[in-house]
Symmetry: C2
Subunit: 600 residues, 2 copies
Amino acid sequence: MPQYTAPVRDTRFILSEVIGLDRYANLPGFENAGAELVDAVLDEGGRFVAEVLFPLNHSGDQQGCTRHADGSVTTPDGFKEAYAKFREGGWSTLSAPEAFGGQGLPHVVSTAFEEYMISANMAFAMYPGLTHGAAAAILAKGSDEQKATYLPKMVSGEWGGTMNLTEPQCGTDLGLIRTRAEPQADGSYRISGTKIFISSGEHDLTDNIIHLVLAKTPDAPESTKGISLFVVPKFLVNADGSLGERNAVACGSIEHKMGIHANSTCVMNYDGATGWMVGEENKGLAAMFIMMNVARLGVGLQGLGIGEVAYQNAVQYAGDRRQGRALTGPKEPNEKADPLFVHPDVRRMLMEAKALTEGLRALCLWGALQVDLSHKAQTEEEREAADDLISLLTPVIKGFGTDAGYRIATDAQQVYGGHGYIAEWGMEQYVRDARIAMIYEGTNGVQAMDLVGRKLAQKGGRAVQALFALVDAETAAAKDHVRMGDFAQRLEKANGELTAATMWFMANGMQNPEHVGAGAYSYMNLMGLVSVGLMWLRMGLAAARALEAGGGDAKFYEAKLVTARFYGERLLPDAGALRRKIEGGAESIMALEPEMFRAA
Amino acid sequence: MPQYTAPVRDTRFILSEVIGLDRYANLPGFENAGAELVDAVLDEGGRFVAEVLFPLNHSGDQQGCTRHADGSVTTPDGFKEAYAKFREGGWSTLSAPEAFGGQGLPHVVSTAFEEYMISANMAFAMYPGLTHGAAAAILAKGSDEQKATYLPKMVSGEWGGTMNLTEPQCGTDLGLIRTRAEPQADGSYRISGTKIFISSGEHDLTDNIIHLVLAKTPDAPESTKGISLFVVPKFLVNADGSLGERNAVACGSIEHKMGIHANSTCVMNYDGATGWMVGEENKGLAAMFIMMNVARLGVGLQGLGIGEVAYQNAVQYAGDRRQGRALTGPKEPNEKADPLFVHPDVRRMLMEAKALTEGLRALCLWGALQVDLSHKAQTEEEREAADDLISLLTPVIKGFGTDAGYRIATDAQQVYGGHGYIAEWGMEQYVRDARIAMIYEGTNGVQAMDLVGRKLAQKGGRAVQALFALVDAETAAAKDHVRMGDFAQRLEKANGELTAATMWFMANGMQNPEHVGAGAYSYMNLMGLVSVGLMWLRMGLAAARALEAGGGDAKFYEAKLVTARFYGERLLPDAGALRRKIEGGAESIMALEPEMFRAA
């Protein structure tokens, strides 16, 4: 059976030595996030998820959720009790606003904890994860009354939340939704329609579930310009905050999925359910994107979280399992065989996993910091710069991060050989669970299009120019560094490929936007490679500083430098290939008529 | 629910226009394999698998195999009847020797059929697939009596066969096996031990199951030099060929796996079972490799087969599902949205799948032809040349082919968006089924080591030199070709990267063999890229010839030229990156001590 230990040492390294949290102590929320408190969150959070959530991961997968004849859904054995402990521990409140009962900690701190929760039990983590997304939309767009009604209990975890976008005929193309919202005399709406793939749509963990639902008012324009957002609680809420009557929304069935079996993925039927508009009429898409951007960063974190736990287990197995001998002669001649660790190709998989998980951890936390800074930095300029960066990088974190998570999980399973394919070892679950993250909250292809079609050009390309400048400046400064100089040069080169690819889009996209679409996915990967590369430059430099300063833990820091080198030698070379693919353009991709794809 | 149509048109193109089967009509077995007969095999075989095997694929996955209290195993509903039809149709006998009731057709023809069978139902195809591997070992190494006793009924499919290698403590490192074989006075052996992961180990499809078992005789040397191969029938066979008493071999349990649920993967307990040695004592590994090489090519074919059926369904869905609009404006303005086909990133996934499946089909069939030629070519020189090539390419076809199959299945699932994750759509099964092919019959990492550690150096590197020369000659000849010249130049460049990587291994491997091990996987991918590239050069040239000759079917041939171009522009660029990774060497991969991988 798999094991999990929260990588607290690594998180702490990133927060204190790479990001330097204490530099932001003057900002609201950060003043409380001193090293001592952060350490406590990481230590206790890591212990909580390992002790309470992780033991339910495999059993939850095997048992799954159950829908009963009355439409109620029960989660796997132990989930209810674990959720109660999650609430009691205050784990749902970390970065929620103090005005609604939250602890007001920086997003960067709660993100660290969320990674651990995902590693321990991704399906479980989705219940509070969705609540978090739904609460974000109410916080940003809801009326004061809506905030007061819903947020305190969503923050405390007493109530859950969901996001209802997809319908049978549409996922990505939300202009096609058919769910209707009929205005009532009292200002409420009657919501009717069917939503599918609703994560945590119905379950037994919370007293109420607050559904956020995209629907169309009568005479709303076709297209996404005619979508509004509604809040539709499972139980109506009385004026005194107590639960009132059951609303006309019900789970019609739960899906049989490849993975995340312990999260209830529901078909939700709205039969004239009572709801209230959140934000302005026909501006639902903008409100939805508030949730969506929170969710996308959370999904990117799923790539990291699953990658981390799969990696940890592969490392364990590579040490335990003996098979064959080192190429340079027996390493442990008294044993019948050497551990898998001696084999370079096993190491290759472990090093890739290490380089990607640690790099993604830094990127996710740095991204979370940008979210904080976009709200809390002292000047408008700083806030905008942070917002630019995180807007640009959200699809990269989601797309590159979840592709990496799947790849790491697949490689970790591979380290186990045949045992990796057997359910009881637990590794195949990670592959199945990791797979969904590439699909939901916008497929990774949709992320790539968001990146090249929307984010690149925003505000005259300011964000991407800022990223280039950042990488240019930091690589230039490190070029002659004794330990990281070679890496800096490799990263500079990769950044050059990214810059060139961007120029190629600019030169060719006007003539034919399909040139951009055809290269979008490679471009997303290229930006991911460079962004994680920037994190490795920073981590390598921080490690070198620490080694120079002495003070112990030398192996930890040496490992960082080796892993940075590995990233430069073994992963950055893809940058050139990705650029050349992008420059291949759209012609060979778009030339075939659909029937020419079909088998004859 | 998925659909499947055997790609008969494409197979025929490869056999007649790319490989040119009629050029070999003077060889034994090929004289019967005229165009008419081959067409009949492809047409009828394609129809048989689509009508009989494919409808059982999803239900077989959902139901799985069942082990009963008495140790018997039943396959999913319908499998027994389908297997009877498989036997009746003579599908098990295609390329088996006529002396044992086979049709004596070339391996290249049966390989074409086997691809279809895998696409239609991989778990089903494994039952005859394993029989085929076991029969190959008896044919090559068995005594005349063993051949006469077992082969006719294995060829006819009346009896099944298995390969028993893996034990709980060893898979790759067969020197560690513990199963014992005690010699008896009558020349037989009593076999005792436990084997795991035995595909088709016990089932209800055949009257008898012929297990080929690796075991150690008393006083056998430690290591793989002390392994012998034994034939252990489930039911002993009387002198008159009728079934005698039940042998002391039984299925202890069946594994719960990620996929191929409809194939029974068994723990097999040998409790003093009666067996007979096949071939010489302590030479079991060589005999095992006879089976293994057959099996590895068959597993490579699984990558292709799953890739093909997943691709076909993604194409179908991309035409049926409407979502969003083309970047260049609505393609079907009367509909509410355009089909997925208009989106370049969807096309990218479909084109990659098309380029890889069609390229792998050519490679697998060309490889199968080398197997035929290694036995049947007229001169010793030709036979050796064919044997060199297929020995070299077997790990490439297995490793590169199955990685590609998993990638294609994953991408095909991705085209379906959220629906791809739901079991009833059938796409997630392809991912789960494809996954095992990267693991069994030697993980793909083991294939890579077989390639660089054994195959490269064999006979002074003759095989790899021959491959380079082939690609050099064919790219040089096509360099100025009006349609394929650009591709030929790209392939020449990729072949240059492969050559340079090979030189790098030679220059650095002596100093430290880990430099070779560290680059093995990239090298396998690089050789796969070049080998499939060679196939695309040939297919492109054949298509250009056909277009020049007129004669219709122009769209089919134009699609080949477009897909070749895509392969050159979008897949071959990886060659440079792979070479640079190889040249990164072992240092950053091997530097960390095991404890430096562990989370702190």
